[in-house]
């Protein structure tokens, strides 16, 4: 049962994390962030950070893994977005 649970969890984590990859890649290639609302980026960043914290509290490797990687992608988009605002 634990194997099934972890398998479902990791496929779920893969989907929700790599669903963000096209967005991060487009920002990487084009540097274009005007179409991405600052509110959305902020909420997603706080969300991934708190999910990571929740995973640490629950000692849940699936939640920790998924959100650590999500945070990298969203963090990158956030930095580019912030720099575009400050400029």
């Amino acid at each position: 049962m634990e194997f099934l649970t972890l398998s479902v969890g990791y496929v779920a984590a893969f989907c929700s994390t790599f669903g963000l990859l096209p967005l991060a890649l487009r920002v990487w290639r084009t540097g274009e962030v005007n179409q991405i609302p600052i509110g959305m980026v902020t909420v997603m960043f706080i969300g991934a950070l708190l999910w990571l914290l929740y995973g640490i509290f629950r000692v849940d490797q699936v939640i920790i893994g998924a959100n650590a990687i999500s945070l990298l992608f969203i963090g990158y988009v956030s930095v580019v977005k912030l720099r575009s605002i400050i400029k």
Copy 2:
């Protein structure tokens, strides 16, 4: 500690779920789904479904709640997207 864990979890759930609301609302208002890639919708739908299953396996109310609501929003967008393709 359990109260802190649940609080962090519920704020995380709120962020990741209601981060999807603007997308669902825009589709609701405009019926416009051309800009949303079918691959993204599919991956997000499968992701939310599997996270919900993972939450049920783990008997984790935060994961269940967050993904049940996410699934409603993504499910709605998926239905509109599918209908726009079939038409």
